[in-house]
Symmetry: C2
Subunit: 393 residues, 2 copies
């Protein structure tokens, strides 16, 4: 491939990303900065779509990296360009919020393999001029973090004041603290795990099989063929969505309430509100998410096993760290239960790290970290304030 | 339809049932005994495929009805004609087993709407000569029990010594005790609920959507078209199968163990044993179960809300009952958790019923009732022995 071809393709990709996510900035990494991936492949050129909020101070010491979860993106605190809804964590990030954009320079990147502007399976492969589809290399949480570190370099930031995220975002936080301890002053992993459990791999596999069972998935080549595996992706989302809630919350919110009808209809329509709600979750998800990207994101989570890179001992990932940690879990989260988060705390304790741990009492399940949870906000506000004092901010 | 036509069709259906399940007896109910269904429809003729074990005594007082769960069938204690495996509850039912076929006459019917010989959506509609498919009326747990009662009548049995079952089988047990209290001497509902929870409806809806998303489902008419929605049904089974196990059991059994390989492959093959296991569960299920029947069975469970038939007060379902109850739950069952079973116990207490309750400590999840659980066997043996003494057996 000639240099000119490459530039043309890269520009086309850039344009496409800007069209997809008009409000995002895009950092392009050219062939002089290839990204070596855990799987052995290398991305010769790629881009990262990201949002920033607030102002970087002169010392470049007030940057907070927010890491998104499986189906999140960089639109953490602004209106989403596709759904028109508020940012996915605008309760947490914004002026006067726990992660206060009046004080901090907040960065959120669409992760590697994502579908909101960062290079992923839906991006055009400069080598073929076609969407990567399944020829995109399977990436890991560490690959995502490696790409984020390149963006942080590009922004001229040496040390991040904090790295914060829940669920898959929490995995990235742990990976940042392990891979770049000197670049992370404070770390807030929420509702996460140092390795993905068997049950969670199982749920992901169901989602992947649902997508791949959809004939429109077309062996992954649906974009080139102008198709979308809508039904398969919707089923995957529906199954996953149940795991984000709790039995109690579903009972409280929906119970056995009927939808728009006075009695059951003895049929297969959505008689129950919970059915209608789930179908809606499935259908709307398809409008904003790429099916192959879903395969890649779930796979990255499945592969995450931080201890495996450190002789099987999680504490070794954090030996000698000066990072201050705040670990948080939620009582009704059965996807990333307190026990998984406590395992992280025990490893940090064993490594002699500075760590605080809070289990928030709530019935809202795994999604609690995205919701109005006063104890979570108070805890993170307090932790950030204390860390900022230590950092001299 | 002439009488002759009807006989021909019925015989054809009978032959078909015998072919499907060669070892099952089949009771045919003709138009003189129509089955009125909760949904308002009526089955003018239908059949029940069933197995029996042991000998009915002269007083006809030693009959035990075993009720199967969602994907079970009548082959409770014999080699399954399709899979070639042992009966699904041969640990519980057989000579010298807790439900001892040397002492008791055990009956197990394939439930109404099932696919192992009892009339269901895969049966031929005598009116059209085609498979019913979605023209089969949606049936309820009470309809299933009504049909079973007709078979019990046919067998000349007035009072069942015991009705026993887990999960959907437990729902039938509760319905039997509520609908026919004078015909049930002892009742053993295991790992069940008096009404299906919001979360459980949600999981069922995911399964149904997975089936209906499969183009081979063909709006339900796949049998007439010679198709099978294999992929959709397999995904439904995979999702459901996770809910039958527990996080702990999955961790103990599979953890993050790899399948036939030394390292992850950075792809979407089944790297992990849990993935391979789930895929196998999905694929083998398709060989023995009808997709529409899966829709109907899950719907019957979703619709189950016993209290709703008794002014919303579950205790009213059991007022004045003389039936002796043994309710059982399992600590790691998150599909039908102890709290749901305790609700049944509280209602029975409020109704002044004779009830014992045991929560078995195990990490095997909902499927515990099908597995080697010594405490379960000891409890049920003891309960059955005590009830048999009272019954003068």
């Amino acid at each position: 491939m000639s240099a000119i071809d490459h530039t043309v393709n890269a520009t086309a990709e850039l344009r496409r990303a800007e069209t997809q996510s008009p409000s995002s900035r895009v950092a392009l990494f050219e062939a002089d900065q290839p990204l070596a991936l855990d799987g052995g492949a290398s991305l010769a050129s790629f881009q990262i779509a990201y949002q920033t909020y607030g102002t970087l101070n002169a010392e470049k010491s007030n940057a907070v990296l927010v890491c998104h979860a499986l189906t999140g993106d960089q639109h953490v605190a602004n209106i989403h360009p596709i759904t028109g809804k508020g940012g996915w964590w605008s309760l947490m990030v914004g002026p006067g919020r726990p992660i206060d954009t009046d004080r901090f320079f907040v960065i959120c990147t669409n992760v590697l393999g994502g579908c909101m502007g960062t290079t992923g399976p839906a991006s055009f492969d400069p080598a073929s001029g076609e969407p990567y589809a399944l020829s995109f290399p399977v990436v890991t949480i560490r690959d995502m973090v490696r790409a984020q570190a390149m963006l942080v370099d590009r922004l001229g930031i040496d040390t991040l004041f904090a790295v914060v995220g829940g669920s898959m975002g929490g995995m990235q936080v742990l990976q940042w603290a392990a891979s770049y301890p000197e670049r992370v002053f404070a770390a807030v992993p929420i509702a996460t795990a140092a390795r993905h459990s068997s049950q969670n791999i199982a749920f992901h596999e169901v989602g992947r099989q649902a997508i791949m069972a959809d004939p429109d998935w077309s062996g992954g080549n649906y974009l080139a063929l102008g198709r979308t595996p809508r039904k398969g992706l919707a089923v995957a989302r529906m199954a996953a969505h149940i795991t984000y809630l709790s039995d109690e919350a579903l009972h409280r919110k929906f119970g056995r309430n009927l939808q728009d009808r006075l009695a059951i209809t003895f049929g297969f329509d959505a008689d129950f509100q919970i059915e209608s709600y789930l179908r809606h979750q499935g259908m709307t998800f398809v409008d904003r998410f790429d099916a192959n990207s879903y395969l890649y994101m779930t796979r990255a989570m499945d592969y995450f096993d931080l201890a495996a890179d450190y002789d099987g001992t999680l504490a070794n990932a954090f030996r000698g760290t000066k990072t201050r940690f705040c670990v948080m879990s939620f009582t009704s989260d059965w996807l990333f239960p307190t026990s998984e988060n406590r395992t992280i705390v025990h490893a940090l304790n064993a490594a002699g790290a500075n760590v605080s741990f809070v289990e928030v009492e709530t019935d809202k399940g795994h999604d609690s970290f995205l919701l109005e949870e006063p104890e979570m906000f108070a805890t993170i506000s307090g932790f950030i304030a204390g860390a900022a004092r230590r950092r001299g901010l």
